[in-house]
């Protein structure tokens, strides 16, 4: 095993490092991590707005809940529309901020210019009258993620390039305060960037479309492919393959984040509008249904460990089961260890994949409701599955999946336990 781990250290680690530190992917990843409060509030309000009642419900509390949600639907939907439903705007700000920090620039101007470009290209004017202005903001949600990523990355890159090359920097006397100097230095790049945004808007407008509308049409096949069972399976296998070598899947978050959170935002918007939910592969789908107990779906394994006859496994299980309940499986991955442990290679990759396949099919045929709310990465699956779908069958599904994981891990666990018990009694 030593030689294999050496190959990993020399081959896989640099790849992971490159992917993790590529500046755009890193900024995207950090932006998605930073909008947690936004997705949380959106999720809570989506849950409040959907009391789990049927025509036969007689429970007083649930009926009161439903009537409260009904009376306050405007407030609840408004909050949802401006949090989860406006995700692209916050992502745009986040990327501009983190990318500027990467360049060691003050993020204020890049953020301002990115938001200006975002409004110019993603919001569509309907009527700009004197008495009131009406605009279409549907695209500031999940559909606007690709424009948000493009606009913020290109704005910051262009701004950085022009500042570096001193485009239009005006030489001011030393007596001019430094802050004023900074304002002038950003003037020319700012004007150039906004002018580009205006030209782009004019072009899209001339073709009777908007940037997100255009991108969405062109990329529709790709985006639909990203919400398919094969994509979900490949993503699950790839993430777990890296985790088998003890490498965090954050390296992929720059790509998976937009797909998963974009799907969530679309579902939240559809849910608020009372429409059928379009997406399955979302962030809550991943957190609550695929990686149950953290990557490797380790919760089932932890349940086996706490009853193990091996002292080592027993100790690891006792330390790891509570974090795993909250979706953190690192103690188990490094403690058992699952990392680079050939005995566990197959179940480590396959448990989450099987969870993914069963949950995906259950949702696509309509047995279990799809997800429309994300509470927290640390919310245990047994609760998160229910709250993210408001479907009690989702809770039952997760219990079944944990049992399946347990059965899958069991034979491999027994082999490893036998080895360790033999070693311990020597």
């Amino acid at each position: 095993m030593d030689s294999l781990s050496q190959i990993v250290e020399s081959k896989l680690l640099p790849i992971a490092n490159k992917m993790s530190s590529q500046r755009h992917l890193k900024a995207i990843r950090d932006a998605f991590m930073s909008i947690m409060p936004i997705t949380l509030i959106g999720g809570i309000f989506a849950v409040i707005s959907s009391a789990p009642i049927t025509e036969n419900t007689t429970n007083g509390f649930l009926l009161a809940w439903a009537s409260f949600a009904d009376k306050n639907s405007l407030l609840l939907n408004w909050v949802n529309a401006l949090t989860l439903g406006a995700m692209s705007l916050y992502i745009c700000i986040g990327i501009a901020n983190f990318l500027s920090k990467h360049f060691k620039m003050d993020p204020f101007f890049p953020i301002m210019l990115s938001v200006c470009g975002f409004f110019m290209l993603v919001i569509a004017p309907i009527e700009l009258g004197w008495a009131g202005k009406t605009v279409e903001i549907s695209y500031i949600g999940g559909e606007g993620l690709i424009p948000a990523i493009l606009i913020s990355c290109l704005t910051v890159e262009a701004y950085h390039y022009m500042r570096e090359h001193n485009w239009g920097r005006i030489k001011l006397p030393d007596s001019v305060p430094a802050s004023l100097n900074e304002t002038f230095a950003s003037l020319c790049p700012g004007v150039c960037i906004i002018a580009t945004d205006i030209i782009l808007f004019a072009i899209f407008n001339a073709f009777n479309t908007t940037m997100p509308g255009f991108i969405y049409n062109v990329m529709a096949p790709t985006l639909n492919a990203a919400d398919s069972l094969p994509f979900a399976i490949i993503a699950t296998l790839l993430v777990h393959f890296f985790w088998f070598f003890g490498i965090h899947d954050a390296a992929f978050s720059g790509i998976l984040g937009p797909v998963r959170d974009g799907g969530l935002s679309l579902n939240a918007a559809a849910h608020a509008a009372g429409q059928t939910l379009p997406k399955i592969f979302t962030t809550p789908f991943w957190v609550y249904f695929v990686a149950i107990g953290g990557c490797g779906s380790c919760l089932a394994l932890a349940i086996l460990l706490v009853r193990s006859k091996s002292k080592q496994l027993n100790t690891v299980g006792k330390v790891g089961i509570i974090p795993s309940f909250f979706g953190i499986s690192e103690p188990l991955i490094f403690g058992i260890p699952l990392m680079l442990n050939p005995i566990f290679f197959v179940p480590f990759l396959l448990t989450s994949t099987v969870n993914c396949i069963i949950a995906y099919i259950s949702m696509s045929v309509g047995i279990v409701g799809k997800t429309f709310a994300m509470l927290s990465w640390q919310m245990p699956s047994v609760f998160g599955s229910f709250l993210s779908t408001m479907d009690i069958k989702a809770f039952i599904l997760v219990i079944i999946l944990i049992i399946i994981d347990l059965v899958m891990y069991y034979p491999f666990f027994k082999v490893y336990e036998k080895q360790l018990v033999a070693q311990e009694s020597e």
Binding site: N17, M33, S34, A250, V319, P331, I333, F334, I336
Partner: protein
């Protein structure tokens, strides 16, 4: 090792799993260390106040990247200690790293 308190920063993806370990190391050090956990997106802003950065083993691939950004020693926590959240063993490792540093 002097009696001056040292500040150790643990970094993992979101500061969650290392957060559990931080408290255990602090306890094992009996007041010798102040240990805090940060996420990978935020650590850089605080790095100036610390004497050592220890990475969670799951982001050990970032060691060269982080080393290039800070002027303090960077290492990663041994996976086997990390797995059972062995604060005492990590404390012993930290003592070694900081001692070597002081002898220079």
């Amino acid at each position: 090792m002097g009696l001056v308190m040292k500040n150790v920063m643990l970094v993992c993806n979101a500061g969650m799993s290392t957060g559990i370990l931080a408290k255990k190391i602090e306890k094992a050090s009996q007041g010798l260390l102040s240990v805090k956990a940060y996420g990978e997106a935020e650590y850089e802003e605080y790095a100036n106040n610390y004497d050592l950065i220890l990475l969670g083993p799951q982001i050990r691939h970032l060691k060269p990247e982080i080393e290039s950004k800070v002027s303090i020693p960077v290492d990663y926590i041994a996976p086997q200690h990390y797995g059972i959240m062995n604060g005492e063993a990590v404390f012993q490792d930290i003592k070694k790293i900081l001692n070597i540093k002081e002898e220079e």
